[in-house]
């Protein structure tokens, strides 16, 4: 740890703080949505389209309705209001209206007394549908098609979003380049594969209110969407987030089944639960976009980056989801961690008749990073510069501005490079390990929270935290930040305890409940630590001021002569003189009762004013440099990652246990994508909708990980912190790809890098007669 000399130290923050809900989770007592049972609860079930693309002429639900034990059957016409996570691209409906757009699209729903009856009812639904052409390949959708998937596709095509950006003069830069390289990357779609399937429980009560419990990362957007589609004002809807068994972006869209569940509860007057099976989860997807990108980089003779020229075609599946953002991100998240003076990007996201793509951990920043880092590895080789030196030479400076006007504040990228190089023993290993073994460098850059909230009307803070402390001295914390396992509840409690000087045990983070939790925009874009952390600090500072005033009155000294000690307030110059936390609290409560405070955080305006300028702006950025060491079995093509040295700049790590956990989990997920995971399709049909056929890495496949936290305090982050939730994934992939090149001399630009591709690469190299490391 390299917190700068003179930087403040804290009692709790910076330690290893076990998760506050840990005891509930290890005993099975934590309550997830499927653990909720309501009296008289019905089972909701969804009928999914067997067609990739079809016009629905009519649906006959009479047989299903007549079945004893069936309480409601719904089709799309009842709630046709379109919705979607981004206000500008509302193209989903709760249940398909007029058309089904992928195998798995919801076409009808039932609520029944039990599972068996619900299944039987679905089997009785008769759909008269006319199959339409399927469009599984985004390339087809780039030109006019016979039957556009959505009417809003660009000029009769299936293009959902096109982004064209040009900063500086890319052609001139390439004309003057000493070295140029082009990498064309192909990336299979991957999915979140969280262990908890989606689940929702809804209950409409005779007082005109609706309560929805759901496994969601973003309770507030769900709240809005329920209101919009069901036509019920938000104040009559209560959204509760139980424990969530992982999200990684897959539970960040408001999802159709959540609205359907509420609609069924309204129709029947009974509580309804919809629980997904694993196939439902795979068909709902919203995973990382299958991507083709084309990256050209120009370098001058001294190894300075002159320009990037990037194109990307990304496969959006049936809905927009976060896709407009994804389209921008696939270009603009290339703007760091290096200085890029000239930049051109053309990105297109194309609807296809497949399960929707969406936001997945390190959203939009992963595939483009792989191609850039592989390109830089090639350039380093061609220019005869060490890969570390090449990157160090081009590092973004602290307090600088990128050519597309991203504001860069803190960066410890150079420290990341130095730490990874030293710890990994790079100089003794690169090109020096025996044939079949190698090391590779990959770097990363990610937003520490999206600077722009998705909804900007009405104007409101990105995060608000409420505190209440009564005479018992317990501090209740309310916020709609969504802990999905990353430890945000723990961090929230720790920040409050740190500011007030009290034991962590006094602080109780309350379950997210829209009736009482002030709005925080939830867990996406790696925003929680930065934004909720600042809001929590602001709220706690207010309580602290009240306690200091009370202690001052008790001690007959001005409050500014006092400071917070452990469970007490004391004189700054004479800490022996003081009062206990409880004495100060009770004094402060005289005549007013429980103390309350509300703190909030709003991003300040940053970035340019051109179209799309807000995409990728953030109050801070994380940086990473990873070295991977791999061993390849050249007979079987099997790859064994042996160790990853992960140098990461998350500013000041506030909970080391959580930061390590995020990095280790990110590496697991990154290894899955680079080495094996694939959403596999034949045409538009998903072939592997199960965890048996869609394999995530097992414990045996995890390499040793050495974590190097080298960040310095960020000037605006809470206590100097930045994100560590998503950025740590990104560098994993190119570190592996570049290590494979070092091991066997084969460049892989198609992911995942499976054994058959390794063997094909080795064959090609042999045919071309290019020996590598003497083999």
């Amino acid at each position: 740890m390299t917190t700068a000399p003179g930087a403040p130290s804290y009692r709790l923050l910076g330690q290893r703080i076990p998760y506050v809900e840990g005891p509930l989770k290890v005993t099975g007592r934590a309550e997830y949505t499927d653990d909720i049972r309501r009296p008289g609860m019905l089972v909701g079930r969804l009928l999914r389209s067997p067609w990739p693309h079809a016009r629905i002429r009519s649906i006959d639900v009479r047989g299903a309705r007549a079945l004893p034990g069936v309480f409601a059957v719904l089709t799309g016409e009842k709630y046709p209001t379109p919705f979607g996570v981004l206000p500008i691209t509302h193209d989903e409906t709760a249940i398909a209206v007029g058309k089904a757009r992928y195998i798995g699209d919801i076409v009808a729903a039932v609520a029944a007394a039990d599972e068996r009856t619900a299944e039987a009812a679905l089997a009785l639904v008769r759909i008269d549908a006319e199959p339409l052409p399927e469009y599984p390949d985004p390339q087809t959708g780039l030109s006019k098609v016979a039957e556009p998937i959505h009417a809003r596709g660009l000029q009769g095509t299936n293009i959902q979003k096109e982004v064209v950006q040009h900063f500086g003069d890319v052609d001139a830069a390439f004309a003057h380049a000493a070295f140029t390289v082009r990498v064309r990357g192909t990336f299979a779609g991957v999915t979140h594969a969280f262990t908890e399937p989606m689940a929702t429980v809804a209950e409409a009560t005779p007082d005109g209110r609706l309560t929805v419990w759901s496994a969601t990362q973003v309770p507030h957007y769900l709240h809005r969407s329920l209101s919009e589609v069901l036509g019920i004002p938000m104040h009559r809807i209560r959204v509760i987030k139980p424990e969530v068994g992982g999200g990684f972006g897959g539970k960040s869209d408001p999802l159709p089944h959540e609205i359907v569940c509420a609609a069924l509860a309204i129709e029947t007057g009974r509580p309804v639960k919809i629980l997904f099976d694993r196939e439902d989860v795979f068909y709902t997807n919203h995973g990382r976009h299958p991507t083709q990108n084309d990256v050209r980089i120009a370098l001058d003779a001294e190894g300075r980056i002159l320009a990037y020229d990037i194109e990307a075609v990304i496969d959006g599946g049936a809905w927009s989801s976060f896709g407009t953002v994804t389209t921008y991100y696939n270009g603009v998240l290339g703007m760091g961690p290096y200085r890029v003076p000239n930049f051109r990007y053309k990105g297109r996201r194309v609807y296809t008749t497949k399960p929707p793509s969406g936001a997945m951990r390190a959203h939009g920043g992963t595939n483009i990073r792989y191609s850039i880092e592989v390109a830089l590895d090639r350039l380093a080789e061609e220019a005869g510069i060490d890969p570390f030196d090449l990157r160090a030479r081009n590092a973004l400076a602290p307090n600088s501005t990128t050519v597309n006007e991203f504001r860069i504040t803190s960066t410890s990228f150079l420290a990341c490079l130095a730490a990874a190089r030293r710890a990994s023993g790079w100089d003794a290993k690169h090109r020096r390990l025996p044939y079949g073994e190698g090391v590779g460098l990959g770097c990363g850059f990610y937003i520490s929270g999206s600077n722009s909230p998705i909804h900007f009307t009405p104007k409101m803070p990105q995060s608000t935290v409420h505190l209440k402390v009564d005479m018992d001295g317990g501090i209740a914390v309310h916020s709609m930040q969504a802990d999905i396992g990353q430890g945000s509840n723990t961090l929230l409690a720790a920040i409050v305890a740190e500011v007030l000087g009290v034991d962590l045990d006094r602080v109780h983070v309350q379950r997210v409940d829209s009736d009482v939790s002030p709005i925080d925009l939830g867990s996406y874009s790696s925003r929680v630590t930065f934004m909720m952390g600042n809001a929590a600090r602001a709220a706690a500072e207010q309580l602290k001021a009240q306690l200091l005033a009370a202690a001052g009155a008790l001690l007959s000294v001005p409050p500014d002569a006092l400071e917070v000690g452990y469970e007490r307030l004391q004189r700054r110059n004479d800490p022996e003189q003081g009062v206990s936390f409880l004495d100060a609290l009770h004094r402060a409560m005289e005549h007013v009762g429980a103390l309350t405070a509300s703190g909030s955080y709003s991003t300040r305006p940053v970035g340019g004013s051109f179209k799309g300028a807000r995409a990728g702006t953030a109050p801070a950025y994380s940086f990473a440099a990873y070295v991977a060491q791999v061993k390849v079995d050249v007979d079987t093509g099997e790859i064994q990652p042996q160790k990853i040295w992960a140098a990461f700049d998350c500013g000041r790590p506030l909970n080391r246990l959580a930061v390590e956990g995020q990095i280790e989990g990110s590496i697991h997920m990154g290894l899955g994508q680079v080495l094996g995971e694939t959403m596999s399709y034949r045409g538009a049909r998903l072939l592997n909708p199960s965890l048996l056929e869609y394999k995530i890495p097992m414990a045996q496949q995890m390499p040793e990980v050495e974590i190097l936290l080298v960040g310095e305090d960020d000037p605006e982050g809470p206590f100097g912190a930045k994100e560590a939730g998503e950025g740590p994934l990104i560098a994993t992939l190119p570190a592996i790809g570049n290590a494979l090149y070092d091991a066997i001399g084969v460049r892989f630009t198609e992911l995942p890098i499976t054994p058959d591709r390794v063997l094909r690469g080795l064959d090609l190299r042999r045919q071309e007669g290019r020996p590598w490391k003497g083999a």
């Binding site: 998760y19 290890v26 005993t27 399937p197 992982g246 956990g661 990110s666 965890l691």
Partner: protein, 158 residues
């Protein structure tokens, strides 16, 4: 034995007799009929290990086990492996060492680890990794889970 007779077995140390249709899956019996919701449903296909329970002391996927197969046998769930007050050594290690994040896979891992430590009080890293190869975790990358089991085994629980 037919569906009409109650299913008798030992559940978390206590004898029970409950109605159970022939096709009833142990996971459904536990979660839906007996309200033991600590055992988690992740895939219904024996792939994720979230539903792991002990059947006669051996880690078993309750989603692939017919309730009727438990007749006369002993089933232990996460509820039964938790002391009335506080936590077991494995549970304590999982908490202290950050081996649980979202927590959904955690009961399955704790059950598996408990059985391993009964057979091998001081397991090697390889034994631990082999033992948990039937449990998937998407949050932790397994490293802290292995560390926690190792610590609990070595009596090094903080």
């Amino acid at each position: 034995m037919s569906s009409s007779e109650p299913l008798a077995f030992r559940l978390n140390g206590q004898p029970v007799a409950v109605p159970c249709e022939d096709a009833r899956i142990l996971l459904d019996l536990l979660r839906e009929d007996l309200q033991l919701t600590g055992t988690k449903r992740g895939c219904d296909l024996g792939t994720c290990g979230c539903c792991t329970v002990l059947l006669d002391g051996r880690p078993t996927l309750s989603c692939l086990t017919l309730g009727r197969l438990c007749a006369g046998r002993s089933v232990d769930t996460i509820e039964g492996l938790t002391p009335p007050q506080g936590l077991s050594a494995v549970q304590r290690a999982f908490v202290e060492l950050g081996a649980t994040q979202c927590g959904f896979c955690t009961p399955g891992f704790v059950v598996t680890a408990t059985a391993l430590l009964r057979d091998h009080p001081n397991p090697t890293r390889e034994q631990i990794v082999r033992a948990i190869s039937g449990n998937l975790c998407r949050c932790t990358g397994y490293l802290k889970i292995v560390e926690a089991i190792e610590a609990a085994g070595g009596g090094r629980t903080p």
